[in-house]
């Protein structure tokens, strides 16, 4: 699927980002190719899952920059020992070298056996940072474990043995829809910072990013001129309301409870021609506006209604949410706006 984004569409048509006039088509650099292959290999090795038990199949370990310098230092020390025929310098060099290897085991063991689970991806508006809560647990003490995503460093956690520790990772979002971080990096440099061991959690559950709310300049009521009569009717308020008996499926918020308490009749307030009624927030009421912009308008209106404590319904092409109010309703509407015409990333999908 091509996401609705003119930029990315252009990129799709012209993957190298050069105009047609450019004579040579540069090949992707060796570095990029290597990186892509490496990523693909890692992704095969670590399938998407919200939980991961880190073990030696999925832990990678390399010396850090400081570790490389330390190695160089050991070589220099060994040379000093050889040149001055100094047994004690030999001894010190071997001691530190052996400690380096032991540190390799410690760094690896610190990560090995840690259970990582994505608890609950957060929700938020496009442009916000979305919080991913990650829970870690290990049977052994695992100090100094850092979480990070490709975009942002996360918290540094210390996990006491057999205890649960939660950490939140903030991932910036850019556009509405499903937000699935490619991978969350779990790394440790314990004990000396000379080596770094890391693994990835590739979450399967996406966060939902709502459209960025944009308050429409015009009220949606006056969107279509032809409906002015109707609009007049509407402006007169509830007098025009038709009352009809309750049917199965009617929302409880719309039952006229006053009447019910008076004579026991379940009567539901119904408006004539609900299209364009103030209770309905409609995708179609912003003709000419870009689709994404319409969604942003609707998001702003949903928030407005919710804050005002008024009920509302939502109509999107192919999707209708009956009028209601409350947190659940708000959330359902926002989710609908976020995911409209977006396919959820498939579980276990590749890159």
């Amino acid at each position: 699927m091509i996401p609705y984004n003119p930029g990315s569409l252009q990129k799709f048509l012209n993957p190298f980002g050069h105009g047609p006039r450019s004579k040579e088509v540069p090949l992707p650099s060796i570095r990029d190719t290597a990186r892509r292959r490496w990523r693909a290999w890692v992704n095969r090795r670590i399938p998407r899952d919200d939980r991961r038990h880190l073990d030696r199949r999925s832990i990678f370990i390399l010396p850090t920059g400081a570790g490389l310098v330390f190695g160089l230092l050991l070589v220099v020390m060994l040379l000093t020992g050889i040149n001055y025929q100094n047994s004690l310098i030999y001894l010190l060099t071997f001691l530190l070298g052996a400690l380096f290897v032991a540190a390799m085991h410690q760094t690896h063991n610190n990560l090995s056996g840690v259970d990582v689970a994505l608890l609950k991806p957060g929700e938020g508006f496009a442009g916000d940072t979305i919080v991913f809560r990650v829970r870690l647990q290990a049977r052994h003490d695992a100090p100094a474990i850092d979480l990070s995503s490709d975009a942002m460093a996360g918290p540094s956690l210390s996990i006491p043995g057999n205890e649960l520790v939660d950490g939140s990772l903030e991932i910036p979002s850019r556009e509405r829809g499903y937000l699935l971080p490619d991978r969350i990096r779990i790394e440790t440099r314990f004990p000396f910072g000379l080596l770094v061991a890391w693994s990835w959690l590739r979450p399967a559950t996406s966060a939902i990013v709502y459209p960025r709310p944009i308050t429409p300049i015009q009220a949606p009521e006056g969107a279509t001129e032809g409906e002015s009569v109707e609009a007049d009717q509407r402006s007169q308020g509830q007098d025009q309301v038709e009352l009809r008996p309750w049917r199965e499926g009617d929302l409880s918020a719309r039952v006229d409870w006053k009447r019910f308490s008076r004579n026991g009749d379940m009567v539901v307030a119904d408006w004539q021609g609900e299209q364009g009624s103030p209770r309905w927030l409609d995708f179609e009421s912003f003709p000419g506006a870009d689709h994404e912009l319409r969604l942003s308008y609707l998001t702003a209106l949903v928030l407005e209604r919710h804050n005002a404590g008024e009920p509302w319904g939502l109509r999107l092409p192919g999707l209708t949410i009956e009028p209601d109010q409350g947190d659940q309703h708000r959330k359902a509407c926002l989710r609908a706006l976020a995911t409209w015409q977006r396919t959820p990333p498939e579980r276990g999908a590749g890159v």
Partner: protein, 695 residues
Amino acid sequence: MTARVPMLPSGALLWLLSGFVVLLLPQWDRLPPWLIVACLLLAGWRWLAQQGRVRLPGRWLKLAVMGTLIAGYIATVSGHFSVDTAASFFVLAVGLKWLETRNSRDFFVLFFILVYLAAVNFLFNQGIGWTLVTLAGVFILLVALQLLHTPGTSRSPVSGLRRLGGMMLKTLPVVLVLFIFFPRMAPLWSVPLVSGEARTGLSDSITPGDISSLAQSSERVFRVTFGGDTPAHRDRYWRGLILDRFDGDTWSQWQETPPTRLGRVDLDAGIGNLANNQYDVLMESSGQRWVYALDDSRAVSGNVTEVPGELFRLERPADTSIRYRMALEPAADDAGSLSPSERRRYLQLPERGNERSRQLASELADAADSDLAFARSILDRFRQQPYFYTLRPPTMPDDPVDTLLFDAKRGFCAHYASATTFLLRAAGIPARIVAGYQGGSAGADDAYLIVRQYDAHAWVEAWVEGRGWVHLDPTAAIAPDRIESGLRDAMAEEGSFLEDDWTSPQRYGDIAVVQWLSLQMDRINYNWQRWVVGYQGQSQMDLMSRLPGNIGLRELGYITAALVGLAMLVAGIIAALRHAGGRRDDPVAMLVTRWVRSLEKQGVTVPPGVTPGQLASLTARQAPAAGRLAQAFARDLNNHYYGPDSRRLRAGGSQKPLALRVMRRRLSAIRREIQRSTRNRPAGRESSSRSQRLS
């Protein structure tokens, strides 16, 4: 211009600072005092800055401090360049770096240079005590590094120390294997550690009076182990150098020592068993080329060579301790003869001066019928007339020989040796002063000898036609105790033995505990130096030659690589096994694991960190028949982990076998039900779903 104080963890910084101070300790007597004070001040500055009491210097102040200290350094070394002064500069650089320590990158830089400082310490101090101090310093540095990377946890200081200690213990076998087998190559290139500073020790000239300053030092010169019996005290004349040129005041060497090229001394004499007539000398660094040997010795180890005068020399000055091996071999009887030039040399005297002594020489020569008789008559004169052996001789500025022989009659070995040689030469008998050490005291259990500076001695050799060089010791005639049992006994009456050295344990030789302690310490150090510090190429080859096969350096390389590879393989296997068997230590936890696994086998998603109660409800949803049983089992588990007995159990008590057996039986019933549940329900119904996630 001021700089903000960066936030490095205070704990880590404090440990790193302490590591620096500990690593400075072994160099306290080598470094100029102002440099040590400056380093401590700079480190203190950094610590105060950490606490927010002062600021780290801005650029200009930093430059000023740097300039001042470097100027001070240049003034101190005044143009001498050697590894020694370079090491001092290194210390200065480390000190200055403290003002630049802002982030963890600087922290690493300091860590690295401090580790190298530890290696530099080993260049100058190899005693076991200072080795332990230096290793402790490195340990502290590692603690600091660990603290930097373990932020937060309150338990980390203690558990960090324990972890680091455990790590070191575990790596010890590998370190030892590497130490023994890593091929000791010849130096690739090298700069000797020549230092400009004066050292205590024999100098290559004697102005009578010099040796008395040595007599006030109990510093160790060398230690000897004999393959056979230790010779008697009076026979232990350790010849070092010959002084044969007299200018009226000072005796010096006729031959200038040829200048030495840069290079390194072979430090090692092998570790093969000592033959009966052999002895093994471990000499402390002296900065000189000469080594000490008994009469009639032959060099066994290749690092010493014989030079004319039956003396032995190293290839280069000894800038660290050196071990060499000699054999006693009675010389062949052919005495040979002196060449005319040699004769001239050994008869050389100043034209004038000491006239009374010249007079005495000719009188004695007239009375004696042979050269030997003449020599004997000199010794008799010393024996019969009131000459005294003293460490507090009067000064003798003019005609020292005359003053000693006729006026003062008080002196010590150098005075008498000088006078004797003068008389011999005046009488036409070739003679020379030999400088070295005499005697030496027994080490612990009489296993070896310790020769100290106060054993320094000078005696005479005279050329007797037909017999060669004859050993004459005027001191033996005046103070037989000095030769029979040493300076301490000789000076017992005068009380001048080590009178200025209050700290030397040798001064308190009459206190048994002090003596015993100092001997035990010395023995430990001696063995440390012989077997650990001195474990170099020759020793390694000797050790390897005892193993089957023809092991050379190349083979050693292979062996080292193989052993290290093996060690890493074993470590890897142990780690893997421990990981696999990690849950076996707790039988109840094993039960939980089995429960979770049996649910997962049926496709139920079990979130991590699930409680027993949640597991029970998952089970009930999957296999309703097992619901009640699962709840009972969950209660068992909760009781086990959180019940009244749980503290005792976790403290190491064992689970009652009965309770465990009941739990096992319950679990197998549950698992049977879970298995049955899948068979009974249609395959399409997938019980696992995300909504079951419990959080």
